[in-house]
Symmetry: C2
């Protein structure tokens, strides 16, 4: 497959890395960048990540046969709205949002319909860094990309977006929108809530200075994801509140049971729980994808 | 300070590393190892970590002027009991237990009293590995060791145990027993409960295979401590159930608030929580000790 003109809306780590990978794979003729920060787009131009840029969404997407949205979930609806009337008949649209149901809703509301060329997606990749200077060609190599077609998505569109990601070295899998949001709530969104919550709980304790001073290495690893971008995680929580809310209820219930087990000093049951958890962690961890991802 | 005879009860990572460090520092004449596994003690002998060994606690401590207990918290009381009648007048006793209140209680019950030479301690150091083959001279260099003297501890005993740890390169601080148990409940014991709990919650979900398959790198870091030794953590929970139970209640309450905030999609409040957590994590993490510790 070959992209005549790729429009990257949001030229940061995620959008910039896709542009670099497709360019390197010889899969794209022209790359148009779009964003608000002139400084960032100038960098992208100097790095050769994009061929030209505009601040206008409409201008960026008109004439593009592939459009990639790498923007905050909170900006999706307005971005779709600004595309109205500018999309070509052959335009394919995909994105990198960490929650899919909300992106589909944003398209329905913003664009007014779900076009056959719209293929919601989620590359399970990322680093702690952000901005186009953090982007690199190899980000998606060997990483999973989940595509969640809508009822309106055409088989051809799904095929072309699948090929695009494969040409970047990614392993593409398909899932229903609802299932994606449940799986990510469990494996990514919930853990981030626990880490943010733990650090916040400790930070609000009187002796928090001392408490953090004695935090050991386990704590350091455990709370690393609490250093993630608060705005991005606010958007993810709002976007996936149904599935995440349910996972949190389930987890809180289990933690209440564990707390009760500890209070009554039930050593046998504690050993059972910890052994089951260690076995699962040791068994599954090698199959977990992407050491770098924090989304 | 110089130790005439050091008795190390439990010659594993913690006990073996102290022996190696004191030997290297030229602070000890003779090192007697004690434990149940003949194989492990033979290794310790061959590595030169100890000079001789016995399986009898009484024999190991008689004639020793420094005794280090590096055994599971669940084995403390019986070990103190086996010391009865074998302790010399100049014998100092310290330990490496992750909870201190329970060790003091084990001494009171096992030994029948709190001797002036008993200085409860907790080196905030460790690795995922265990056994004497994992021990190394530098384990305690630059790491924090918390000493929690009892009301019976003599100033001289506290001074000598402090010097012992300093000669291993450790940074020694002092805390009340109760305060140590609260601080560790917050910074170490609670995070381990959250990680064990998360992995167990996901492992018991129907689609757990798929869920773990899509777990990202953040999840990998976050759950690393769930691979810790289940027996050790069972003992820690039972030993520190009061302080840990209280911390868990506090955390669960905060998580319920967060879940409710997510359910009602309160973006402003979510941003506030995540920003406060990130700021605390980014601010304090450089002051956290011991990248290697999991206790």
């Amino acid at each position: 497959m070959l992209i005549r003109r790729l429009a990257v809306i949001g030229v940061g780590l995620i959008g910039g890395s896709l542009a670099r990978a497709l360019r390197h794979a010889g899969q794209v003729d022209e790359i148009v960048g779009c964003g608000r920060s002139r400084e960032n787009l100038d960098k992208a131009l100097n790095f050769g990540v994009i061929d030209r840029f505009t601040h206008e969404i409409g201008e960026a997407v008109s004439g593009a046969d592939m459009i990639f949205l790498a923007i905050p979930l909170g900006a999706m609806e307005s971005t779709f709205r600004e595309m109205r009337g500018y999309l070509g008949d052959d335009a394919l649209i995909t994105d990198g949002g960490s929650a899919k149901g909300s992106v589909v809703e944003a398209c329905r509301l913003g664009l007014g319909c779900l076009p056959p060329g719209f293929v919601p997606g989620h590359p399970i990749a990322g680093t702690e860094k952000s901005g186009v200077e953090a982007s690199f060609m190899e980000l998606y190599r060997g990483r999973r990309v989940i595509l969640t077609p809508t009822d309106a998505t055409s088989p051809e569109a799904l095929e072309r977006v699948t090929s695009m990601w494969r040409s970047c070295g990614a392993e593409v899998t398909r899932m229903s929108i609802a299932h994606h949001d449940e799986v990510l709530a469990a494996t990514s969104h919930l853990p981030h809530m626990l880490a943010f919550g733990l650090v916040d709980t400790l930070a609000r304790m009187d002796e928090n200075d001392e408490i953090f001073r004695y935090a050991a290495g386990g704590f350091r690893d455990f709370t690393r994801i609490a250093s993630s971008n608060p705005v991005m995680w606010r958007d993810i929580c709002v976007a996936n509140k149904a599935a995440l809310g349910e996972m949190m209820e389930r987890y809180i219930k289990d933690m209440e049971d564990l707390a009760e087990t500890i209070r009554r000093g039930d050593a046998e049951r504690l050993l059972e729980i910890f052994s089951r958890a260690k076995a699962a962690r040791d068994r599954y961890i090698d199959t977990a994808s992407d050491p770098g991802s924090t989304e």
